[in-house]
Symmetry: C2
Subunit: 456 residues, 2 copies
């Protein structure tokens, strides 16, 4: 990638200059890099606990740039870096930030620091910050910014344009404008595109769309992102209980949510809890905790398989060759079942699959899983003949079809069942599904074996 190459070159030059403490070279290199790129360098420095150099790098940046770079960092990193700053500098940085980033940074600070900063602020600023910082993480409120352009109902196009020009430097986006009534309620919306082609004397009320797609402060963030994606929105307005406009969620924040929710879902699919940071940066103790819970629970789940085996010890002792096929049969059932569960869980997360589709999907899975089981039975039957004769081959082939079919249907139905019980369907993770199918597979296999081999 040409972009990556250039990036690496500038990055290395910057690190060299930093290493040599060469301020003129630093000043020459910094404008070549964007805030996101500088933030990445800073993350590495913080990760290596080289706070002195991290601080030196930040201090080369103009205040506005510094604020933007800090806005790109994760919570823990922000805390580390703010600890190297005095209250004066931190206050100045906060002032340069967008309202949503300011609130996010404020939330990671300690109580003393917060108090000190709040005391330095004007009343209105303080209340605004406290309000934005008060919304629960993972909701529209925590995601939104209050830097939007609000136009009072009744304004003319020319005056609205003037308002846009005035707020342009501060607003997160000036491309979608929100018309509010005297009570602050969201009355309509119009795009800057509409505004610039409109007759200057027209009133915004006559141009605006009245039926605005909006969301509420307590809407979960994945729902917010889904609405932005569904309607291709630049920004989604957020209202409070009294229908007052309180903020907007912009397209770039929605994109970040989609990305982080996908990561969360992928981890959940392997029974890993939500990590507060990337896998290379999250504290080891936290990584351990997020992985151990289900692993230990599933140890006990796996005891069911052991109990099943113990129950059939006589059959096994009589025909030890059967054990040869055990990992294969329960493994195959587990794989097919984990596939089925994953398809459903992801389908439900993206809105492609709804609870009302259950019946139709069950029919489809029955056909597909039946074909899969048959294919795999055909693949394994010759080995059965080779290892234990025709009777064993029959047992193995029939067991394969039964286990794959049962496993797939279990995997498919479990997410719906969990959803019905008010649980997260994603709890139907591959490890859980596999463990359940292992235990059932042992029972199915040895039951069929006992039946066929004692009968024959």
């Amino acid at each position: 990638m040409p972009l990556d190459d250039t990036l690496t070159r500038h990055r290395d030059a910057l690190l060299d200059a930093l290493e040599a403490d060469d301020r003129p070279r630093l000043d020459a290199q910094l404008p070549e890099l964007r805030s996101a790129d500088i933030a990445e360098i800073l993350q590495d420095l913080i990760g290596d606990e080289d706070l002195l150099r991290a601080r030196a790098l930040l201090e080369c940046l103009p205040l506005e740039r510094r604020a933007s770079v800090i806005g790109h960092l994760h919570g823990e990193e922000q805390l580390s870096i703010t600890e190297t700053m005095g209250d004066d500098v931190l206050q100045a940085v906060l002032e340069e930030m967008g309202a949503d980033e300011r609130a996010d940074l404020f939330k990671v600070l300690g109580d003393d620091r917060r108090e000190a900063l709040l005391r330095r602020m004007a009343h209105r600023e303080r209340e605004e910050l406290k309000r934005l910082a008060s919304y629960e993480e993972g909701t529209a409120g925590a995601l939104m910014t209050s830097d939007y352009v609000a136009i009072p109902a009744g304004m003319t196009v020319s005056r609205a344009l003037m308002r846009v020009r005035q707020t342009a430097p501060d607003a997160e986006t000036v491309y979608q404008l929100y018309v509010i009534d005297p009570e602050g309620r969201l009355a309509g919306t119009m795009s800057l595109r509409q505004l610039i082609v409109a007759r200057p004397g027209a009133r915004v009320d006559d141009l605006m769309i009245h039926d605005v797609i909006h969301t509420r402060v307590d809407t979960p963030q994945e729902e917010v992102a889904r609405v932005v994606a569904r309607y291709d929105l630049l920004a989604l307005p957020v209202i409070d209980e009294a229908s007052r406009l309180v903020g907007i969620v912009t397209h770039d924040d929605a994109l970040d949510v989609v990305e982080s929710e996908a990561t969360e879902d992928i981890h959940k699919g392997m029974s890993i809890g939500t990590l507060e940071d990337g896998v290379s940066r999250v504290p080891l103790w936290s990584l351990y905790r997020k992985r151990v819970t289900w692993l230990v629970l599933l140890v006990f789940g796996n005891l069911l398989s052991g109990a099943g085996i113990a129950h059939f010890e006589a059959t096994i002792a009589a025909q030890v060759a059967l054990v040869f096929f055990l990992p294969l049969l329960i493994g195959s059932g587990g794989n097919a079942g984990a596939q089925a569960a994953t398809l459903m869980v992801r389908g439900m997360a993206t809105g492609d699959v709804g609870v009302r589709d259950w019946g139709k999907l069950l029919g489809r899975e029955l056909l597909v899983a039946g074909s899969l089981g048959l294919t795999m039975a055909l693949a394994v039957a010759p080995i059965g003949v080779f290892r234990g004769g025709e009777a064993v081959a029959l047992v193995v082939a029939v067991s394969m079809i039964a286990i794959v079919l049962f496993g797939s249907l279990l995997g498919m139905c479990l997410p719906f069942l969990l959803d019905r019980l008010g649980w997260d369907p994603a709890t139907a993770s591959a490890p859980l599904v596999t463990t359940l199918i292992d235990a059932s597979g042992v029972l199915i296999y040895f039951s069929i074996a006992t039946l066929v081999l004692s009968g024959g």
Copy 2:
């Protein structure tokens, strides 16, 4: 959700009106729904093969709306619906579409249909369409639109604003403008925000950013989406080999890519191939093919476990109680290993983990997996004592630590190894990792058992 409730109500009303063939009620309901919502209703009708009603619904819509709704459908659905249209109507629909959606629709049509449509077009339109439709799926070229606002270098702000006003109805976004030199090369960019606050007599060359973040037509779409996300872009300009600006990828398309790439990755993690449509709509035959390949390959992988068991038949026959712990031990190792692999694969996909981090991550995994193995050994040891005495408990506990540690390290390293070999790291799926660990686990467990139990 209030939004969902309103949506369901309007949707049901529309379906009622359609059922009753009540045109006035249809006309009253349609403006209440957005294109994305109508598209969803249409998808259900097409899914139920009710093309007559689907057609009736579309014909109630004004042409522009019809184009927008059809743009929201998937390829197969678009093909079904266009087959109900004459060439005249289809041509009119194509003309109303954005350039990127037009090219996408064109690509799903049959050869005869394409020829017929191309003959009806003006030369310039035809070449443009053929060009956009020629880029390989999954690249920036296939994703981009040619509906952007290009400003010739040297233009004044007031003339540029006039140009924006003229192109506003057709352009995908007018909020980011691209300045091109006489050869059509990308010379700079500026936002409409900058333009409206600038002095009317100033030249765009003096205002624009020269160092434009851009990409090339052949860049893979996941890379394109990552750049849009990293720099919070509204649109990313795309250039050809001669550095000429040929299109832009907008934020909403980047969001769709992130969503569909995540789905693809989640499916890959369970050894499911890329589905061409949602799980509830994809043809059964395709779903079977995308699942069966790895399932059958892994049947043979699982034979390794069987072979391991066969090798230790004497140990097993002497101490049948050992089989009780087999599913538990290999299951636990498989779960821990699948977790480790998933963490790496996702980290690599989001750019959080790079190949250069391998050493550091190996050290971290060693510590975390060691702790996990120890915890699980402590959980399982008492059951070992209960089922087979102290010697068996020792074997089981030591095996648990060894298998979890080995499995986690294997799961962690496999994605890096695959990447090194030029494969997709995501091939290190849960089923593959689990199968490999099952086989290794059998060997580790029974080796330790043979050693301890024959020695003691």
